[in-house]
Symmetry: C2
DNA sequence: AAGATTAGTTTCGAAACGAAATCAGATGTG
DNA sequence: CACATCTGATTTCGTTTCGAAACTAATCTT
C-alpha cells in the first residue's frame, strides 16, 4: 500500500478539517474550544447523559479533564450542578439561563449556516450519512457511540407516546432529538452495556 | 430564538464530533494530534502548499506554532526541509520515506474505513457536500479555503492535460487530488490573492 | 464483610498555543 | 537607488489545555 490519496481519504480529511475550522470562530466570547464543546453537549444531551463521565466519553478525553472544563463553566455561571437522587456518586449539570443565553453566540453557528445553504438533497444525505458514520466508527474503535433517542434502537413510538426500553420509561418529547450515552444504532450493532439502567432521577 | 435543536445543528455537531473522534485513535504511534494533522497535510498538499505558512493557515493556528510542530516532525525524521529556489525566504517540507511509512498508521484510517462501508450514494453525496461546506464556511468566516486542485476554479482540463491558471502552469496528475492553499471554489466565491503567483520551483 | 467497580475530583508534568520579537529576503514607491 | 513596507520562517516566553495517575466516596458483587 503506497501513499496514494483516494477519494475516501479526501472525505475523511475534509471532515476533520471542517470540524477544526468550525470550532474556533472568535465570536468575541470568552470560551475555549473545549468549553464550547462542553456547553453544547450539556445543552443537547438528554437528562441521563448530562454527567461528567458522559461528556468525557463524548469528547474522547479523560474524566479528569472533563471535570476541569465543567468546573470552569460552573464558575462562569453557565452550568448548575445537581446531585442525583438515586446514586449519590453521580452529579448532573444543567445549563443556567445565562448558559442558554451564551449559547446564542456558539461559533458553530457559522457551520450551521453553511449547512443551511446546501442544496436540500445534499443536506438530507448528510443527515443520513453522518450518524451512520458515527456508528461505524464507534464499531471499529470498539467505543461507545452517541446518537439521539429518535435514532436509537431502544426507542419505540407507540402512537402519541415515546418509550425507551433502556431506562424502561417514557421519554420526554424534548429528548427525542437529544444525545444519549446509552445510544444503540438501529442496525445490527453491538450494545455497550455498562451495567443495567437505574431509575431515572 | 430559543435553544431549540434543529436538524441542521445536529449535522454541524456531528461533523465536529466525528472530526474529534477520528483524530485520536491510539494506534500505538508516538505522534500527537497536531503532529498527525501536520504530517497528513504535508502528505496531501501539492508542492506549492507544503510550507509552514500554508499549514498554519490550514490548521487555523499561528506560524510560530506551526514551526514547532514541523520542527518536531523533522527531528523524528518524518519531514525533510528543502529551500525554495525562487524565493529564498521560503522553505518546503516533504515526507521522507520514513514519514511515508508512518502514514500507514494514520489514526484517520478508521474513519476512512467507516466511509468505505457507506452506501455508495451517500459517499458520493459526502464527496459533493463537504467541499461545498468548506467553501461556504470560509466565505462566512472571510478566511482562505482549502480544497483540491480538481475542485478548483483555476483548474481546467484540456483533454489529457491539466492546467492551473493561478500558477500558470501544467499540473502534475498527482496534484489533482491534492490540497492547495490557492484554492478557489468553482462557484461565485471571492479569491484570496496575496500577490500574484511566482514561478513554480 | 471484603473486594471490585464506578463517579467524580485533584494534582502534576508535558504539550499546544498565542503573542511578540527577531531576522532575512522580497516588493513597492518616490 | 534608497527607503519603507511587507512577507516567510523561526525563536522565546507565559498561559492554557490536556492526559495520566492518585485519591475519595458510593455502589455493586460474591
Amino acid at each position: 500500500m503506497d501513499g496514494k490519496i483516494t477519494s475516501t481519504d479526501e472525505i475523511a480529511e475534509l471532515i476533520v478539517y471542517l470540524g477544526r475550522a468550525a470550532r474556533g470562530g472568535d465570536t468575541g466570547s470568552d470560551l475555549t474550544a473545549a468549553q464550547w464543546t462542553a456547553l453544547r453537549f450539556f445543552a443537547r444531551a438528554n437528562h441521563v447523559s448530562r454527567t461528567p463521565s458522559a461528556f468525557a466519553s463524548f469528547h474522547a478525553t479523560t474524566r479528569g479533564t472533563a471535570s476541569q472544563t465543567i468546573k470552569f463553566l460552573m464558575l462562569k455561571g453557565y452550568l448548575a450542578r445537581h446531585e442525583a437522587a438515586d446514586d449519590r456518586r453521580s452529579v448532573r449539570f444543567d445549563l443556567t439561563d445565562s448558559g442558554q443565553e451564551v449559547m446564542r453566540d456558539d461559533p458553530l453557528r457559522a457551520l450551521s449556516e453553511a449547512i443551511d445553504r446546501l442544496e436540500g438533497g445534499l443536506r438530507a444525505a448528510l443527515r443520513q450519512a453522518l450518524p451512520s458514520l458515527a456508528g461505524e466508527l464507534a464499531n471499529i474503535r470498539d467505543t461507545v457511540a452517541f446518537g439521539t433517542c429518535g435514532d436509537c434502537r431502544h426507542f419505540s413510538s407507540g402512537g402519541t407516546t415515546s418509550y425507551c426500553a433502556y431506562v424502561a420509561a417514557e421519554l420526554a418529547p424534548a429528548d427525542l432529538g437529544r444525545l444519549c450515552i446509552n445510544f444503540a444504532a438501529s442496525g445490527g450493532m453491538k450494545l455497550a452495556l455498562p451495567g443495567l439502567p437505574k431509575e431515572i432521577s
